[in-house]
Amino acid sequence: MALNTILVVAEVHESGLHPVTLELLAKARAMGTSVHAVLAAASDGDTLASELGAHGASRVYLAENAELGECVGGFATAFAVRDAVAQCSPDLVLFGQTYHGRDAAGCASVLLQRTVVSNIVDLESEPELRAVSTVFGGTQRVATAVTGPAPALVVVRAKSFESAEPGSGSAEVVRLSLDLPRWVKAGRVAGRADESASGPKLEDAPVVVSGGRGLQDPKNFALLQELAAMLHGAVGASRAVVDAGWVPYAYQVGQTGKTVKPTVYIACGISGAMQHTVGMKGSKYIIAINKDEGAPIFKLADLGVVGDALDILPKLIAEVRSRAN
């Protein structure tokens, strides 16, 4: 099935576009005849629109409105999506599976009266539009045909597609005047706190050193920080320790956290539950340290070490340090 227009729902992260937006644009260009983007932003609309153009959007529907800075979550974006859909009648609308993207997708689904498919890791257009997800910890691949009237609404997990380098393209900007209902503006943001760690981002780091409940105590995460810093890596975590409040959610790897694909993933005191491994099994090499030789993490480790992480980590740090000197 040939796809005509694909609409990518853009998201702002820190001062630029969210990486998942760039990934979606790259995939949309490979699949569709024309690629449009829609963006609702409090400020910097034109800069962001030209960035979208450089990544392949030929047209950007831009709703720029200072009020958006106070709106809670991604609901306002759904209204921009609705208006953009009315103008360009896309076959497919792509959202990133982020907090913001999930708010926007769920709300847009109701506004457009089309269901959404989420947790998507791949898209196929032949013989019909199919959205692919994985189930049972990534052991089975499920392709779902999305039929019914256009547009199909699809929510895609980050890191499913490769983003492309920006080119020389530029986008035509179509301005939308957002008319938000009262309920969307009723909640407001009173403050924000940044939890992002220094060093390379978890999603981009070539080495990820992750810890789980086996580290026994939150203060032992300092060992992971130290090792990660020496390896130019980032620290990750299992949900068990995130839920326990040891480290911020930004560290969580897995089904409800981030997907990482580093060169080396080092799992320390992590059992290897499928909800965790689904987020890291795409790593090139996996090293696991666990006291229990029966831990499921060993089924995917290239190097598995049965032992006490609290004993091995300090020695490992010392060895790596002596190499570096």
Partner: protein
């Protein structure tokens, strides 16, 4: 105040899942349905709100009739009653249909606050709370890490990509809670016994005025993904650190 908590009954997550039949739906036959463990956080959050303000918690669920047993757990924790929308036409319902049905039941019951979890353990579509907000046209604060209510103003710390946000919203509203937002209580023996006589009202989509249309998504194809092979497993005899360094050197990250 009346707090509605949306809870789902799911196949026991400790039993490995299986896709069956021509439609590749999750095997439900012979599998016990339990209250989604993620929803226990929602029930706890609802009970805490109702206890602090005076009021009650009503559980709303859509699923097979035999799932009523799973609702008893929420009743045993302290909810006053359950509403179960059960309809053969809802088997395999898509996300928008599910939300439409839940919203109809919630609207009919009336509410000051609706609480959900952020994603269900079996389906994890992760968009139902947002759909409920748009259907009920009340403000939503999604991904709550902590909640407090004073007079009728709710303050919620919510998770975002880069950190947290403090959101302020007035009732009525919807809040989706993350795992770890609280410590769900264990049902007491008295709670468990009392739950047996608490009402669970069942209704159909039709009785809620929701017309069911056919699904616009069908599983076309299921294929196994090749498993990653395990590599070398060693037992630490004091030399594991050296062995790891050697590995890191071989793969050139050191």
């Amino acid at each position: 105040m009346k707090v509605i908590v949306c809870v789902k009954q799911i196949p026991d997550p400790s039993v490995p899942g299986e896709l069956v039949g021509p439609a590749h739906t999750l095997q439900r036959e012979g599998v016990t349905l339990v209250l989604d463990p993620g929803d226990e956080f929602g029930v706890e959050a609802g009970l805490a709100l109702a206890e602090s303000q005076g009021g009650e918690v009503v559980l709303v669920s859509m699923g097979p009739e035999r799932g009523a047993d799973a609702l008893r757990k929420g009743l045993a924790m302290g909810a006053a009653k359950g509403i179960l929308v059960s309809d053969p036409g809802l088997a395999g319902a898509d996300a928008l249909t599910t939300a439409t049905v839940l919203a109809a039941a919630i609207r009919r019951e009336g509410f000051d606050c609706v609480i959900t979890a952020t994603e269900s353990t079996d389906g994890y579509s992760g968009v139902i709370p947002q759909m409920l907000a748009a259907l009920l046209e009340v403000p939503a604060v999604t991904f709550a890490k902590s909640i407090s209510l004073q007079d009728s103003t709710m303050r919620v710390k919510r998770q975002t990509e880069s950190g947290t946000e403090d959101a302020v919203v007035n009732l009525p509203c919807i809040v989706s809670v993350t795992a770890g937002v609280n410590e769900p209580r264990y049902p007491t023996l008295k709670g468990i016994l009392g739950a047996k006589s608490k009402p669970i009202e069942t209704c159909t989509a039709e009785s809620l005025g929701v017309a069911l249309t056919g699904s616009t998504q069908q599983v076309a194809d299921v294929t196994p993904i090749a498993a990653r092979g395990a590599g070398e497993i060693i037992t630490d005899d004091g030399s594991a650190a050296a062995k790891i360094v050697e590995f890191l050197t071989t793969v050139k990250v050191l």
